[in-house]
C-alpha cells in the first residue's frame, strides 16, 4: 500500500536490527519432497484455511468442509450434512486432553467428538458472532475469535463472556487469531494490533503500532510493525510471540521486538496470513510463498511453485543477504499460503489450491544442504 513511500535507508536499518546476535552461516534442512492433496485426489475444495495434527491424523479445514487425512489419503470429508455448522472451516483446535476437535467456521463453532458434531451459534449460545476465524483451548477455557470480539467459554460451567472494544483495550472487535502462551493468551486483532490476556491477573494489555499505520521501523524496539494483525503464534521454546500482519512480521520476547519486511530480508512478501514457530524456526505464510526464518542464524528460505515450470523453487537468503536458489521436482500446491503446522519433522501447509505435505528427508539432508550451498 505504501511501498512507494518507503525510505530505503530505513529498510536497511530494519535489516540490521533483525539480525539475531548469534547468526551463523548455516543452511537449514530443506523440504524438497512434497505431496499435495487437491480436488483431484479427494479434497472437497481447493482453498484450505487451516491444518491441525492429531498424532498420525491430519485434519484440514477447507472452504467446503472438514477433511481427515491418514496414511497419505483423504479418508473422511465432513460437511453440513454430517452436522458441521457451516461448510467454511477457518480454524481447528484439538483439545489434547479430551481429543475433541473445535472448529471455527463462518457459521459458528462446532465441536467434533466421537464422530458427531455439537454446534454453537450466536442464536443458541453466548457466541458473539457466527463469523469465527479461530478457536483455541486453554485448560478448560475455549477462546473464540469472531468479527464481533473475542469469546471465552468456560467448558466446566458453560459461561460465555465477550471481550470487545467495549470491555477491553482493543480498537476493533474483529479478531483473527489466538495463541496460548505461558500464563498469557495472545489475540490477533484486525486494526487493533496484538491483545494480550494475563490469565492469573485477569487483565488485558494491547500492543499496537506506535507509528500509526506506517509499515516502517523507525527505531529499535519501536513495537509491533502494523496494527492489522492477521494471525499470531507462540513459541514455547523461546517464549516469544510472532504476529503476522499484512505489512510485515513481528516477534516479541517480552523485552525486544524483531520486525521483518520483505525488502530487506528473505521474507517472500509483507502480506502474511499466519505465522507458526517452534525452536529457532519461524514460518511465515505469505501470498507469495512459504517463508522460513532461522531466528538464530537469520537465514531465510522461501518455498514456492515456479509458475512457468511447475517445479518447486527454493530461495535461500543467508544472513549476508546472499541469495541462492534451487529447483525441486515437487512443490507446494500454490504460492498463496494461508497457514501451516508441524507433524514431527514434516510440515503441512494450507494453500489456496490444496493442502501440501512437506516431507522431511533426513537421509538426504546433508546432500540437500550441500547442494543448496552450491546453488545447484
Amino acid at each position: 500500500m505504501k511501498s512507494g513511500q518507503r525510505n530505503h535507508w530505513l529498510g536497511c536499518l530494519v535489516g540490521l536490527l533483525c539480525i539475531a546476535p548469534t547468526a551463523l552461516a548455516q543452511t537449514p534442512a530443506l523440504y524438497t519432497k512434497w505431496e499435495n492433496f487437491t480436488t483431484a485426489n479427494g479434497m472437497p475444495d481447493a482453498k484450505v484455511f487451516c491444518v491441525a495434527i492429531d498424532g498420525d491424523r491430519v485434519w484440514a479445514g477447507t472452504e467446503n468442509g472438514l477433511v481427515l487425512i491418514e496414511n497419505s489419503k483423504v479418508v473422511k470429508v465432513l460437511g453440513t450434512a454430517d452436522g458441521l455448522v457451516n461448510r467454511v472451516v477457518t480454524g481447528i483446535a484439538i483439545d489434547k486432553k479430551t481429543g475433541d476437535l473445535w472448529l471455527a467456521t463462518f457459521g459458528g463453532v462446532s465441536r467434533y467428538s466421537g464422530g458427531t458434531f455439537e454446534n454453537f451459534t450466536s442464536l443458541r449460545t453466548g457466541l458473539a458472532n457466527d463469523i469465527v476465524y479461530a478457536v483455541a483451548i486453554q485448560d478448560d477455557i475455549l477462546w473464540v475469535a469472531t468479527t464481533a470480539g473475542i469469546n471465552k467459554l468456560n467448558l466446566r460451567t458453560g459461561e460465555w463472556s465477550i471481550v470487545s472494544e467495549r470491555t477491553a483495550p482493543m480498537h476493533e472487535p474483529w479478531s483473527y487469531g489466538i495463541a496460548v502462551g505461558e500464563g498469557k493468551v495472545y489475540f490477533a486483532v484486525w486494526g487493533g494490533g496484538v491483545l494480550e490476556y494475563d490469565i492469573a491477573g485477569d487483565y488485558w494489555k494491547p500492543y499496537t503500532d506506535p507509528d500509526g499505520e506506517m509499515e516502517l521501523v523507525l527505531f529499535k524496539n519501536q513495537g509491533l510493525i502494523h496494527i492489522i494483525v492477521s494471525n499470531i503464534s507462540y513459541n514455547h521454546d523461546t517464549k516469544m510471540f510472532w504476529a503476522s500482519t499484512y505489512f510485515g512480521m513481528s516477534g516479541y520476547d517480552g523485552h525486544n521486538w524483531y520486525n521483518y519486511l520483505s525488502m530487506d530480508s528473505g521474507l517472500a512478501s509483507d502480506f502474511i496470513n499466519a505465522t507458526q514457530t517452534r525452536g529457532d524456526d519461524v514460518w511465515a505464510c505469505t501470498d507469495k510463498g512459504l517463508s522460513y526464518l532461522n531466528f538464530k542464524t537469520n537465514t531465510w528460505v522461501t518455498y514456492r511453485p515456479n509458475q512457468k515450470t511447475g517445479h518447486g523453487e527454493i530461495v535461500i537468503t543467508g544472513p549476508d543477504k546472499k541469495v541462492t536458489t534451487r529447483e525441486t521436482p515437487t512443490t507446494l500446491a500454490h504460492n498463496y499460503i494461508l497457514n501451516m503446522t508441524f507433524q514431527g519433522d514434516d510440515i503441512w501447509v494450507a494453500t489456496a489450491a490444496g493442502l501440501s505435505h512437506g516431507m522431511h528427508e533426513s537421509h538426504k539432508e546433508g546432500k540437500t544442504n550441500e547442494q543448496a550451498r552450491n546453488g545447484r
Partner: protein, 634 residues
C-alpha cells in the same frame, strides 16, 4: 411369601445395624436439607420416617458381600451375600447414587449426586478414606481395569470426570449429552460405556435421539458417540460374554410423543425395551450398530426398563422394570433368533417380540432399579428402591427365593406411599407408564408431548419439572389446573392414564409426595450466595427490564398467572401460557411452552421477535449473556 420374608429379614438385622440405625436417629445425624427432612416437615399427616431408598448394588469381586448404595440415607450398606444379613454401614456424601468396587475389592467408590463428590471408602474398615471432587451431579461410575482411573458420569454437568485415583485429581472431563447416567467398564477393559438419561435437544416436531458414549480407556477420550433414534432414558448397561456375542444390552424407553397422548387408550404410545449394541471391531464396521427391541407384551406394558445383567454364561439376561415392579428374564438364545428373524428397521415397533424371548416375568417390590448377578451365577439380586429391600432370585430356576429387608422403617408413610404411587404404572391403561416414566428423577424427560388435544401436532407442550413446584400453582402450561389435586386426579385419569386413576387417599398421598420434591442445589450460585460480576450485571438487567413483573422473586420467579409473550405456534389453541418458575432454570432445557427454544439464549434471539417477552431487541449480546448468567443463579 412376603410375610415370611419380612420375618426373615427382621431376624436378619444384626445388632450393629440396629444400634447404628438407632444411634443415627438419636443423634439427629440425618443430613439437613435432604428430601427426607423436607418430606417429614411438609406432608400433612406424614410419618417422619428415614427411608434408605437403595438405588444400586454391587457384589464384591469374590461374591461374598453385596454393597448397596442408599440415596436417602447417604450411606452404603454391606450385606453378607450368604447369610443375607447386613454387616455394616458407612455414611458417604449427600444423595449417593452410584457405586463402583475396585478390582481388588479393597475400595468402594460412591458418587454423591448432591455433594458433587466421590467418596472413596475402605471396604474392610468401612470408613471414608478420601473425598474427591467431581463435576456437577455425579451418578454412575466405574474404575478402569487396573483400578487406577475412575470415570464418573456428571448428570447436571453433562460430562464425565476422569479421575486419577493415585493422586485424587481430575484429569479431564469428557462431554456426554444429555444427563449421563450409568457407566460400565467393558469386560476386556478397553472401553467405558456411558448412557444418557435425556435425549439430545431437538425440534419439538422431531422424535428424540439419545446418545450412548464409548470411551477408549487407553487414550481416555471419546471413541464413539452412538445416536439412538426414537428413544430416551437410556439406563443401565450389561455386556454379554464374548462367547455369546459380546453385545451390549441397554434398557430404554420409546415414546411416541408426536402422537396425541389421547391414543394411550389404543396402546403403543409409550413402549419399553432395550438397545442391542454391537460394537465396532477393529477391521470391521466403522461404527457400532444398534438394534432396538421391545420388552412389552401386546396387551400389557412394562414401564421403566432400568437395571440389566447377564448370567455369567450369558444364556440369560435380566431387566428390571422400575415402574412395573417386575423383572423380565430373557433367554438370549431366543433373543438372538428374534433379532435374526425380523429386520432392524421393524423391530423397534414390534410388540410381538417379547413373547418370543422373555421366558419369565417376576414380581418384585416397589421400584426395582437395579439387578446384579452373583459372580457364581447362582443368584440375582434386585434392588427395590422404594421398599428398602432386595429381592433374591435363584438361577437358573428364576424363582423369587427371598426378600432381604435392609432395615428401613417398617411403616409406609404418606410420602413414601405417594412416592410408590408415583412409580407405579398399573394406574395407566395397560400399564404403559407411571408418573415417573415421564418425570425421571422427579424431573423432565426432555421432550414435548401432544398431551390433551386429539389432533396430531396441536397444542404440543414440553414436559415440566416436578422439582420445587409446591408453591407454583396453577399447573399445566395453560394454567387451567388450580392445584395438584386437579392436575394429578381427574386430569391424569382422563387424559393420560385412561383408567380410573387414583382414589382419594392415593391422590392425597401422591400430591403430598410431589409437593415434597425438593430443588437440587444450585451449581451456578457460589456457596456464600454472592453473585459473580456477570450475574450481578445480569441481575440489574433483570430488574431494569422489569422481568420481575411476571417473574417476581418472592414467588419462585413466577407471577402464577398466564401471559401471552408471543410464543404461540401455528397449531396452538391459545397464546396464553402459564408463567413458569425460574428456579434451577439451567436444568430444564428445552424452554418455552412447546420446548422449541433449545437454550435460554434462543428465548430471546429467536422467539421474541416483537419484544412481547420483554423488550430485549435493544440488548447487546454481552447483556444477554449477563442476563442468562443471572437466571442460572436462581
Amino acid at each position: 411369601m412376603k410375610e415370611a420374608s419380612q420375618k426373615r429379614t427382621i431376624r436378619s438385622m444384626t445388632l450393629p445395624t440396629l444400634l447404628a440405625t438407632a444411634s443415627v436417629i438419636a443423634m439427629g445425624l440425618w443430613p439437613a436439607g435432604t428430601s427426607k427432612a423436607q418430606v417429614s416437615g411438609t406432608a400433612t399427616g406424614a410419618v417422619a420416617s428415614n427411608y434408605l431408598t437403595p438405588t444400586e448394588a454391587k457384589f464384591s469381586p469374590d461374591g461374598a458381600k453385596l454393597y448397596v448404595v442408599c440415596e436417602d440415607d447417604d450411606s452404603v450398606l454391606v450385606v453378607d451375600a450368604r447369610t443375607q444379613r447386613t454387616l455394616g454401614r458407612v455414611k458417604v456424601g449427600h444423595k449417593p447414587r452410584g457405586l463402583a468396587v475396585s478390582p481388588d475389592g479393597k475400595s468402594l467408590y460412591v458418587a454423591n449426586e448432591w455433594s458433587d463428590t466421590v467418596s472413596v471408602v475402605d471396604a474392610a474398615a468401612l470408613r471414608v478414606r478420601q473425598t474427591l471432587p467431581t463435576g456437577w451431579g455425579p451418578v454412575g461410575l466405574t474404575t478402569d481395569k487396573p483400578g487406577k482411573t475412575l470415570y464418573v458420569a456428571n448428570s447436571i454437568g453433562n460430562d464425565i470426570s476422569v479421575l486419577d485415583l493415585a493422586t485424587g485429581t481430575e484429569l479431564k472431563r469428557l462431554v456426554s449429552l444429555r444427563s449421563p447416567h450409568y457407566v460400565e467398564l467393558s469386560r476386556d477393559g478397553r472401553q467405558v460405556f456411558v448412557t444418557n438419561l435425556l435425549p439430545h435437544l431437538v425440534s419439538p416436531d422431531e422424535s428424540p435421539v439419545s446418545e450412548f458414549v464409548i470411551i477408549d480407556t487407553q487414550k481416555q477420550t471419546v471413541a464413539e458417540r452412538i445416536l439412538i433414534p426414537g428413544v430416551l432414558e437410556l439406563r443401565h448397561i450389561a455386556e454379554a460374554p464374548a462367547a455369546q456375542g459380546g453385545y451390549l444390552l441397554v434398557p430404554l424407553m420409546r415414546p411416541k410423543n408426536l402422537n396425541p397422548l389421547i391414543q394411550v387408550a389404543n396402546g403403543w404410545i409409550l413402549t419399553h425395551g432395550m438397545a442391542i449394541v454391537r460394537l465396532a471391531k477393529p477391521g470391521g464396521a466403522a461404527r457400532s450398530e444398534v438394534t432396538q427391541i421391545l420388552l412389552d407384551d401386546m396387551d400389557y406394558y412394562y414401564a421403566g426398563a432400568d437395571g440389566a445383567a447377564f448370567t455369567p454364561d450369558g444364556r440369560y439376561a435380566l431387566v428390571t422394570h422400575a415402574d412395573a415392579a417386575m423383572v423380565s428374564v430373557i433367554d438370549t438364545g431366543l433373543l438372538r433368533k428374534r433379532l435374526q428373524s425380523v429386520s432392524t428397521g421393524e423391530l423397534p415397533n414390534r410388540l410381538d417380540s417379547a413373547r418370543e424371548f422373555v421366558v419369565r416375568r417376576l414380581q418384585t417390590e416397589s421400584n426395582p432399579t437395579d439387578v446384579e448377578v452373583s459372580p457364581d451365577g447362582r443368584t440375582a439380586v434386585v434392588v427395590n428402591r422404594l421398599d428398602d429391600s432386595l429381592t433374591v432370585l435363584s438361577i437358573p430356576g428364576f424363582q423369587v427365593r427371598s426378600r432381604i429387608d435392609l432395615g428401613g422403617p417398617k411403616e409406609v408413610s404418606v410420602l413414601r406411599h405417594g412416592q410408590q404411587l408415583f412409580h407405579d404404572a398399573k394406574f395407566c391403561f395397560q400399564g404403559q407408564f407411571a408418573c415417573a416414566t415421564c418425570h425421571p428423577d422427579d424431573h423432565i424427560d426432555g421432550v414435548a408431548w401432544n398431551l390433551e388435544t386429539p389432533q396430531l401436532g396441536r397444542d404440543r407442550v414440553a414436559n415440566r419439572t416436578l422439582r420445587g413446584i409446591a408453591e407454583t400453582a396453577p399447573y399445566k402450561w395453560n394454567g387451567h389446573n388450580p392445584d395438584l389435586e386437579t392436575q394429578c386426579g381427574p386430569r391424569i385419569a382422563k387424559f393420560l392414564f385412561h383408567s380410573e386413576g387414583f382414589n382419594a387417599k392415593q391422590l392425597a398421598d401422591l400430591v403430598s409426595f410431589i409437593k415434597s420434591i425438593p430443588l437440587p442445589p444450585n451449581r451456578h450460585l457460589a456457596e456464600d450466595r454472592q453473585l459473580t460480576p456477570a450475574q450481578e450485571r445480569g441481575r440489574n438487567i433483570f430488574f431494569q427490564k422489569a422481568c420481575d413483573t411476571c417473574h417476581p422473586p418472592a414467588t419462585h420467579y413466577t407471577a402464577r398467572i398466564s401471559s401471552d409473550v408471543g410464543t404461540a405456534a401455528k397449531y396452538d389453541t391459545s397464546g396464553l401460557f402459564d408463567i413458569p418458575q425460574l428456579d434451577r432454570i439451567y436444568e430444564k432445557p428445552p424452554y418455552l411452552h412447546n420446548g422449541e427454544a433449545q437454550s435460554l439464549e434462543e428465548i430471546w434471539t429467536i422467539y421474541n421477535p416483537t419484544d412481547k417477552h420483554g423488550v430485549t431487541s435493544d440488548m447487546t449480546k454481552e447483556q444477554l449473556n449477563d442476563l442468562i448468567e443471572f437466571l442460572k443463579s436462581l
